[in-house]
Structure formats: structure tokens, C-alpha cells
């Protein structure tokens, strides 16, 4: 009986994490596209790209997590010219065409702490977008 309820409760925690991941993935997809659109080979473009990613998490139409209740706060934006080496603070902006946005939020767990001494688990989503000639597209 205890085992049955424990498993059901675990299902609730994990189900919630899947919802949160879907929310974060929507955000990172849009944020990576926004950022990639700003890339133009200059430092100003990099700065605008970083701002463009963050802007979607603020304002009246901000995307949120935990069934649309929590603001997305932990966002990491990095840049690359070859999709292999990612730099958060790039020194040379010229060849950077790829943007990766990672959103990772600590989800407080309710039932899982029965089994483990853990109070939160990190749920993360990542997206990579590429600047194209006229536009930008999601590649991962």
C-alpha cells in the first residue's frame, strides 16, 4: 500500500517535471531564434542577442514555467562558430553564427524526498539556432 502510494506520488513529481521541461523547451527554442536573428558579426550584435533571449522571459507576455507560474530566471546564452566550442563571453564576434540557449530551473520536489534527501531537482532544456542569410533557424 505504502509502496503503491509512493509510486503514484513519484509519478506526480516526475509528471510535473515533464511539463516544466516542455515549457522550458518552448522558451529556449524561441529564445535561441530571437538571439540568432540579432547576430551580425559584431559585439553589439552579441549584446543584442543576449538581450533578445532574455526579453522573452520578461514583460506582460513572458514565458514561464511550473504551469505558467514561475519566471524563467536561469538562462545561459553561449555562442559558437562551429557548434563545438561554445563561449559565453566571446572575444571575437566575427564568425559566430550559432547560439545556444539553456534554461535550467530548480524544481522543488514534493514526494521524491521520501526516497532521497533531496529537495529540488534541476530540469533543463537547451536549443541551438543558426543565423542564416536572411533569417534564423532552429537546428537542435
Amino acid at each position: 500500500m505504502t509502496l503503491l502510494l509512493g509510486l503514484a506520488a513519484l509519478g506526480i513529481d516526475i509528471g510535473r517535471m515533464y511539463v516544466i521541461r516542455a515549457e522550458l523547451q518552448s522558451f529556449t527554442d524561441a529564445a535561441a531564434l530571437s538571439a540568432a536573428l540579432e547576430l551580425n558579426g559584431t559585439d553589439a550584435g552579441i549584446a543584442r542577442a543576449r538581450g533578445g533571449a532574455g526579453r522573452l522571459a520578461t514583460g506582460p507576455h513572458a514565458m514561464r514555467w511550473d504551469m505558467g507560474t514561475q519566471p524563467i530566471a536561469n538562462i545561459a546564452t553561449s555562442f559558437s562558430s562551429d557548434r563545438a566550442n561554445w563561449q559565453e563571453q566571446p572575444k571575437q564576434a566575427r564568425d559566430l553564427r550559432f547560439v545556444r540557449v539553456i534554461a535550467a530551473e530548480p524544481v522543488p520536489v514534493i514526494f521524491m524526498r521520501i526516497f532521497q534527501p533531496l529537495t529540488s531537482a534541476t530540469v533543463a532544456a537547451a536549443s541551438v539556432a543558426a543565423k542564416t542569410e536572411m533569417s534564423a533557424r532552429l537546428i537542435q
Binding site: G15, V19, A22, S26, A30, A62, A136
Partner: protein
């Protein structure tokens, strides 16, 4: 009356009592599980709607009810298809196209739900302004950059 028969009676009452408790617990688990499932479906649907809207060429400003593009976005969110043949089965029970809000800006499209009530048996979750997804406009994409590239 033998002692065993007397105990059989109390076992029945205990079983009835625990059955109520169990039923309530399972109903609760079902409700929460269904809410998560439904919200996950809605997030994906709203995301698809926003992405679709952001890939359309910018034309007239949004807001007009008869705008065919806006209608296609609403259909996509509610039925999973911009031009559905069957309008009787929304992705989530109770969702209608009037509850889908589309805000088209020159550089971004936002889709969210307005005044939708998620009906999970006893529990009702009011969804007003969530989920919300905004996608930047990439309508100028080259032909190779197809709609919905990535996931």
C-alpha cells in the same frame, strides 16, 4: 454467533471505510496526473501556434476576427491542424478557438489561452494568460529553412 462471524462483519466495515479513502486518493492522483498531461498538451499546442504564426508573412495587423491567418493559428492550437476537417474533437476537452489569443507584432507572434477552464473531474484549473509562447518572426527565412525545423 461465533467469534469468527463477528470478525467477518467488522472486516467488511473496515474494508468499506478504506475503500472510500482509497477512492479519494486515486481520484486525487488522477486529477493531478490529468492536469499535468493536459497542460503539457496545451504548452505544445500553443508553442505550435506561435511558431506557425511567426512563420506567416506579415500582412494586415492582427485583431480582426475574420483574419484567415489568425483563424488558422487558432485551429492549429485547438485541433492540431490549421484547416481541420473534424471540428468536434479539440486536443483537450472544452477548448474552443475563442479562447486562443493571438498577438501579432511586426517582429514576434504571441499565442496564449484566455479564460480556459481545465476540467479535471472535481478540480477546475483556470488558465488565463497561460500557457503563453512568443516566437520571433522568421518569415523571411530562405526556402531551405523550412517551417518547424528543429522540434
Amino acid at each position: 454467533m461465533s467469534r469468527r462471524r463477528a470478525q467477518a462483519g467488522s472486516a467488511l466495515i473496515e474494508f468499506a471505510g478504506s475503500l472510500i479513502l482509497l477512492a479519494v486518493m486515486f481520484a486525487g492522483i488522477f486529477e493531478i496526473g490529468y492536469s499535468f498531461y493536459a497542460y503539457g498538451v496545451l504548452v505544445t499546442a500553443v508553442r505550435a501556434g506561435a511558431r506557425y504564426a511567426a512563420l506567416q508573412p506579415r500582412g494586415q495587423p492582427s485583431g480582426a476576427g475574420a483574419d484567415p491567418m489568425a483563424q488558422a493559428v487558432r485551429n492549429l492550437v485547438v485541433y492540431g491542424d490549421p484547416a481541420p476537417t473534424d471540428r468536434t474533437k479539440p486536443l483537450i476537452a472544452g477548448l474552443t478557438t475563442e479562447q486562443v489569443e493571438l498577438i501579432n507584432l511586426p517582429d514576434a507572434s504571441t499565442v496564449s489561452l484566455r479564460g480556459f477552464q481545465l476540467d479535471a473531474l472535481f478540480l477546475k484549473v483556470k488558465l488565463d494568460g497561460r500557457p503563453t509562447v512568443t516566437f520571433p518572426v522568421t518569415a523571411g527565412a530562405a526556402p531551405g529553412a523550412a517551417p518547424g525545423a528543429g522540434q
